[in-house]
């Protein structure tokens, strides 16, 4: 019952019902609400566990970075009074405290963790920290308390540099936006200013993923539109048969579909052999492990996501509108563009949005058929999760991807309007 109806009924209800009955009815309504809520509770819990909690953890992980602060709290406390913008390294007293802490880490076999963290901002320091830690294991702690600095220098000359202490201090921050800076190809210099990084990777990969996703969306629309139109206007028998062909790949495993594209596209694969046998080409094309392989196979894989919403919307369009336009003197093409096309927009935008959002974060297909230039941002996120163990950076890259999609969704809402989407 809508709000308006309720308020219209309200006076009448009040005049005929006693207070007791009113209370009864309110109780009933509360109960009904409670039951309705109980029905959606499993869904709510599921969404919380499977969706909101992981995303929240990811967002948190991209800024929360307590590892170094937990490993060398004492050193960081000593470093807090040191001016990292100057040209002098910290006093020997600070270094002594670090030496003692490093020995503790070595004994607990945690020095590698510190090495990995510091190495991230200053490549090459992991071995410095680990080898020094190994040597310190055997030394007397009392000796390190007084002579730690000298022992550090004797172990590796790197400890005399100012930079390593700067990095140590800056990595000690528990909440930091550094991962986001890296994800945007930025860095802080020794004065704390934000500058461009030496290696420029991530922005270009975002742009590339965006480009590939748009290309796939465009292609699925071009291919899907006429097909859906045909499906929607054909006789039910033909439409049903063809629908099976659309749905059949949809039900097939994603891996199977991707692998069959490998068989089709490889150098001595079906496509090349066929083209060579009809003498269309003399040398086989290089198709697999390229960007076009990613685009072709993903277009095929995501096509049903475009066709299904388009079809269901087109099915609901009354053909008499089109006929009316024609009978009123419109030529077929203008009639199509001005009458039919606008009516399909809800389906088209639903399909486009689905295909775009799914494809921008796609992982498995580019990893398998993309080779080098078919890589997308998801593949580099996987690299940082699995090989480099830089989970903070992976989280930052993932959060930026989420932000990018939300921004595009907002833009889309402004331009087309989300209320126009129709999924079926």
């Amino acid at each position: 019952m809508s709000q308006a109806e309720l308020s219209n009924d309200a006076p009448r209800v009040r005049s005929t019902l006693t207070d007791e009955e009113m209370a009864q009815s309110r109780k009933m309504q509360r109960r009904r609400k409670l039951i309705a809520f109980a029905f959606v509770t499993p869904l709510l819990i599921f969404v919380m566990i499977a969706f909101i909690a992981p995303i929240g953890t990811m967002l948190y992980r991209s800024v929360y970075h307590p590892t170094v602060a937990q490993l060398i709290p004492d050193t960081l406390e000593a470093l807090s009074s040191w001016d990292e913008k100057g040209d002098n390294r910290p006093d020997d007293a600070v270094l002594n405290r670090f030496a003692v802490e490093l020995q503790q880490l070595a004994l607990k076999r945690k020095s590698g963790k510190l090495g990995e963290e510091i190495n991230r901002a200053m490549p090459g320091t992991s071995s410095v920290i680990k080898s020094t830690a190994r040597k310190f294991k055997k030394l007397d702690t009392e000796l390190l308390k007084t002579e730690g600095a000298a022992r550090l220098f004797a172990s590796k000359p790197h400890w005399k540099e100012v930079e390593i202490w700067r990095v140590m201090k800056s990595s000690g921050a528990v909440f930091t936006a550094n991962s986001y800076l890296t994800a945007l190809d930025l860095d802080r210099n020794s004065l704390g200013e934000i500058v461009a990084r030496d290696t420029q990777v991530y922005i270009r990969l975002y742009l590339k993923s965006l480009k590939i996703a748009l290309m796939i969306t465009f292609l699925t629309a071009i291919i899907g539109f006429p097909l859906s139109y045909y499906l929607a206007t054909a006789s039910p028998k033909t439409a049903n048969t063809l629908m099976v062909f659309v749905l059949l790949p949809f039900w097939t495993s994603l891996l199977v579909r991707t692998t069959s594209w490998i068989a089709l596209l490889q150098t001595n694969g079906v496509v090349n052999t066929f083209l060579q046998s009809i003498h269309a080409i003399s040398e086989p094309f290089e198709m697999l492990y390229t960007q076009s392989a990613t685009v072709i196979s993903m277009t095929h894989i995501l096509l049903p996501f475009m066709i299904l919403p388009l079809y269901s919307v087109m099915k609901g369009i009354d053909p008499s509108y089109f006929r009316a336009a024609m009978s009123l003197g419109a030529k077929p093409i203008p009639a199509f563009i001005r009458i039919y096309l606008p009516m399909t927009v809800p389906g088209l935008s639903a399909g486009a949005l689905l295909v775009f959002i799914i494809s921008i974060g796609y992982y498995i297909t580019p990893a398998l058929v993309g080779g080098t230039d078919g890589q997308m941002i998801s593949n580099i996120i996987a690299f940082h999760m699995q090989s480099s163990n830089n989970w903070e950076l992976a989280a930052a890259l993932g959060s930026l991807l989420l932000a990018l999609i939300l921004a595009l969704y907002w833009l889309y809402d402004r331009l087309v309007g989300v209320s126009n989407i129709k999924l079926g």
Binding site: K130, V201, Y289, N389
Partner: protein
């Protein structure tokens, strides 16, 4: 009621008796022909001998999964087969248990373990060397043009040997090869690669063949590319090529010049409940006879006493017979520069 009580008692007996009957733990390795060889020569004999049950799982290397398990305290793996490149990191980050090397059994010929194993196999406190394997390049006799390549320089010589070359998409090995092909002495490679100029030099060398390169992600793709004509030369783990030659009679040749060899190591995940059992398994798996079984996939045993069980025809095809021509991958270098070179490598790929 009586029947129920009896049933309960029987049930209690069953559950109490179960752990006595057999213990169970999980071992993880790389699968494929290598995993099959381990199953046949290490896991199956151990299970037959002790009655314990081992669940054998596959992974694709790296320490991410081990890290996740140790950090969450939910240990699912007990024993892992890990590359030395990752072992260094995993051990110093406290993700692995320390393995008591002095408990390793002597070789079948009676030589003490400390003498029998190659020094690299016991150089890390967290593990015991399992195999010596290597990355080399291989060509297909049927598709190669311009003669028979024999050096790493030939891999970069596209004028004499035209055609696509396939490399695994990562900086490891590729950077080393570029420098060696550019004239850097093998023993200097990692020193040079640690400098900015050295890295530029390696990328510049890779630039010379960039248009002829095909990239792949897993070793299984290497023999496939060589076979279907996707490339005339491919970088590969030696076992994969050996397997293709041995079991499928493929016309592949291996080039041993500047191969980059490394060890695989059995190690124990930190915090496992089956530590004693896992140690016992590793002691068994790295003893002379099971070790020699790795010849099935042309990976070299890490202990001398195993070689008496190795087919003499296979010995020249094992990496251990070619150590002089090769270079050992530096776990320390890649722990230092793996991430930064990985980023630079990705940048280079995008250019």
């Amino acid at each position: 009621m009586k029947a129920l009580k009896r049933f309960g008692a029987a049930l209690a007996l069953c559950t109490a008796a179960a752990p006595v009957m057999a213990d169970q733990f999980t071992a993880v390795s790389f699968g494929g022909a290598y995993g099959a060889a381990q199953q046949k020569h290490m896991l199956d004999p151990y299970m037959a001998k002790t009655g314990h049950k081992i669940l054998f799982e596959n992974y694709s290397g790296g320490i991410a999964e081990i890290k996740a398990q140790v950090e969450s305290g939910n240990i699912l793996w007990d024993v892992v087969d890990i590359e030395v490149i990752d072992l260094e990191r995993a051990c110093s980050e406290g993700l692995l248990e320390v393995f008591p090397h002095d408990t390793l059994p002597p070789g079948d010929d009676g030589v003490a373990a400390s003498e029998d194993f190659s020094p690299q196999a016991l150089s890390n406190e967290c593990g015991v060397g399992n195999i010596v394997w290597t990355v080399l390049y291989s060509y297909n006799n049927e598709t190669i043009k311009g003669g028979q390549p024999s050096t790493i320089g030939d891999f970069f010589n596209t004028s004499q040997f035209p055609g696509k070359r396939a490399l695994r998409k990562r900086p490891q090995v590729n950077m080393e090869w570029a420098l060696i092909a550019d004239g850097v002495a093998k023993e200097k490679v990692y020193d040079v690669l640690a400098t900015a100029e050295g890295q530029k030099r390696a990328f510049a060398k890779l630039d010379t063949i960039k248009d002829d390169l095909v990239w792949f992600d897993s070793w299984s793709q290497a023999p496939q590319l060589l076979n279907d004509g996707g490339a005339v030369m491919v970088q590969s783990a030696n076992g994969r090529i050996f397997d293709a030659i041995q079991s499928d009679n493929k016309p592949f040749e291996m080039v041993w010049d500047a191969h980059i060899y490394d060890l695989d190591v059995w190690a124990i995940v930190k915090g496992t409940k089956n530590k004693a059992l896992a140690e016992d398994f590793i002691r068994f798996a790295t003893s002379s006879k099971p070790e020699s079984g790795m010849q099935d996939v042309a990976y070299g045993p890490t202990r001398q006493s195993s070689y008496t069980y190795v087919d003499p025809a296979i010995i020249p095809k094992l990496p251990s017979a070619h150590l002089d021509e090769g270079l050992q991958a530096s776990g320390e270098f890649w722990a230092d520069y793996g991430e930064s070179l990985g980023e630079k490598f990705n940048e280079w790929l995008l250019n």
